[in-house]
């Protein structure tokens, strides 16, 4: 009888499904923020393990340098070509240097760097941590009296927060160089004029905006990567690792876009930075 009543139980309706899904999402966001705040607390608690930080800095920074420079360079080239073509009909093609410089410094430099690192580093952090979770290595850390947040998350979080602005500086220069090469080589623009225009439009405030954005993106990539790595269950297996890794890359990319909008609103509209 009991079995029969279970069979005839009505499936949850659309509002219930929405409620269940919303509850799940909010619960995940809550757990992610808990991990984020635990990380912030652990950053300031001794012991400070600089060797782990240096290892992550090298892994995240040095190994990503080439791909970030290449991505920045070609983004700058595309901007230069598109900028010149769009501005020429209005006879303001001379502003192409300003267009490239401002776009790359304030927006595309940090954004492209963050996208590259989200795919490369965020996903690799998730894959590494979730594999450790599945193979009980994180449990082993706990049993040996080592805080996994302190040992695994803090170095990755700090390394991403430090290396993203650092790499952004390289990608920004590469972007401006790409724009310069494209515009000077393909169109009738004087190289000295381009560089002079860049110099005129490169403000400390703009660089500061770029670095604030890059640091925030770095934090977001590390936080999402670590959270997705930790959130897998031990029974998840290889499939769980794959799902977590894909999820990490997707969520990081969305987080970067949302964060970019929020930061643009705060920095330009509220704080009035230019």
């Amino acid at each position: 009888m009991e079995q029969q009543s279970t069979i005839h139980e009505a499936p949850p309706g659309f509002p219930d499904l929405v409620k269940i899904r919303l509850h799940k999402v909010l619960s995940e966001v809550g757990h992610a923020f808990t991990l984020f705040f635990q990380t912030i607390i652990q950053i300031f608690r001794p012991p400070f393990q600089f060797d782990l930080l240096v290892k992550q800095l090298l892994l995240i920074g040095f190994n990503s340098l080439a791909v970030v420079i290449v991505s920045g360079f070609f983004t700058g080239m595309v901007l230069g070509v598109q900028g010149y073509i769009q501005l020429k009909p209005y006879a303001v093609e001379g502003s192409v240097a300003r267009f490239v410089c401002v776009s790359v410094v304030k927006e595309l430099g940090p954004m492209i760097t963050a996208f590259v690192l989200a795919g490369r580093i965020g996903a690799s952090i998730t894959a590494e941590l979730s594999t450790m979770k599945v193979t009980e290595q994180i449990d082993a850390l706990e049993v040996m009296g080592t805080n996994p947040v302190k040992y695994l998350v803090v170095p990755r979080f700090l390394a991403c927060s430090i290396m993203l602005p650092t790499l952004t500086i390289y990608s920004t220069f590469a972007g401006i160089a790409g724009g310069f090469v494209a515009v000077v080589a393909l169109f009738d623009v004087n190289g000295s004029f381009f560089l002079l225009e860049v110099q005129k439009n490169l403000f400390v405030g703009s660089v500061l905006i770029s670095l604030i954005k890059a640091t925030s993106f770095g934090m977001a990539i590390a936080a999402v990567g670590c959270y997705k790595g930790f959130s897998i269950s031990t029974a998840g297996g290889a499939e769980g690792v794959g799902i977590a890794t894909t999820g990490s890359a997707v969520i990081s990319l969305i987080a970067i876009l949302v964060l970019d909008f929020v930061l643009n609103h705060i920095l330009f509209n509220i704080l009035g930075m230019v």
């Binding site: 009980e136 290595q137 082993a140 706990e142 040996m144």
Partner: protein
């Protein structure tokens, strides 16, 4: 030494531990047996603080530990060593780094002293010349030995073994069982072995407990265990234990075999 009192744990409406009580006396090797999914590994995770119980108490050396904060729990964990089912070696580190991990994290020993302890612990588990290898380069049995050496590195008072012989060939199983017995005799540590491998259980146990449906249904020395008239226990022993262990005079076993 460890006292588990009325512990319950529920996963998604299923009671995995259902008011479990169990005593782990100092210096004994207690084997916790039970069918897959009966809550043995969950119990280990609760004792080691990897998971919290829904209710009940865990007493360790006269201290109630189920509500300890992380800092106090970490101090307590230094008295504990654990061999995980999969060995759980850190695959980004060498064998030596794995064994020295706790020393590196919790002491100020220099490299030479750590190296000496690593060699000593590896020789305890009959391993040599593997210090510079990575876990991926080791066989299943060697990984378990390294896991055991790592568990011994901080001279624990209690060692927990989670399914120590799972996934190993019969020869390696026997070697691991002998190793557990030897270590118990040589180091006089308290050992808790969670297993459903009856050969392993009867090889190493000085005390045994059987868990069924989240409760302890039998407890005693191996000799006492084979004489307990409990059908579930006897069925479990019949299908798993070596023939020479079976007590054919046990009425439950007689009845079961007579059917």
């Amino acid at each position: 030494m460890i006292s588990i009192r009325n512990v319950t744990k529920n996963f998604g409406g299923k009671n995995v531990l259902n008011g479990l009580s169990l005593e782990i006396p100092r210096g004994e090797t207690l084997v916790i047996m039970g069918r897959s999914g009966c809550g043995k590994s969950v119990l280990l995770k609760i004792i080691t603080g990897l998971m919290s119980a829904d209710s009940g108490e865990i007493w360790f050396d006269g201290m109630e530990i189920s509500n300890l904060n992380r800092k106090k729990m970490n101090v307590l964990r230094r008295k504990v060593g654990m061999l995980f089912q999969s060995a759980a070696l850190f695959d980004s580190m060498t064998v030596a780094e794995n064994v020295a991990f706790m020393l590196d994290q919790h002491t100020d020993l220099d490299r030479r002293e750590m190296h000496k302890i690593v060699d000593e612990k590896l020789s305890l588990v009959d391993l040599a010349d593997v210090q510079d290898l990575r876990p991926a380069e080791l066989s299943g049995g060697m990984r378990k030995r390294v896991g055991l050496a790592r568990a011994l590195a901080f001279d624990p008072e209690v060692i927990f073994y989670d399914e120590p012989t799972t996934g190993l060939d019969p020869v390696t199983c026997t070697e691991i069982n002998q190793l557990i017995g030897d270590l118990h005799e040589r180091l006089q540590v308290t050992s808790v072995v969670v297993t459903h491998d009856m050969h392993s259980a009867f090889s190493v146990a000085t005390r045994m407990a059987m868990i069924h449906e989240g409760r302890q249904i039998a407890y005693g020395s191996p000799n006492e265990i084979i004489n307990i008239d409990d059908p579930i226990l006897q069925q479990f022993i019949l299908f798993g234990a070596p023939d020479q262990i079976l007590n054919m005079e046990n009425p439950i076993l007689k009845e079961y075999l007579g059917r």
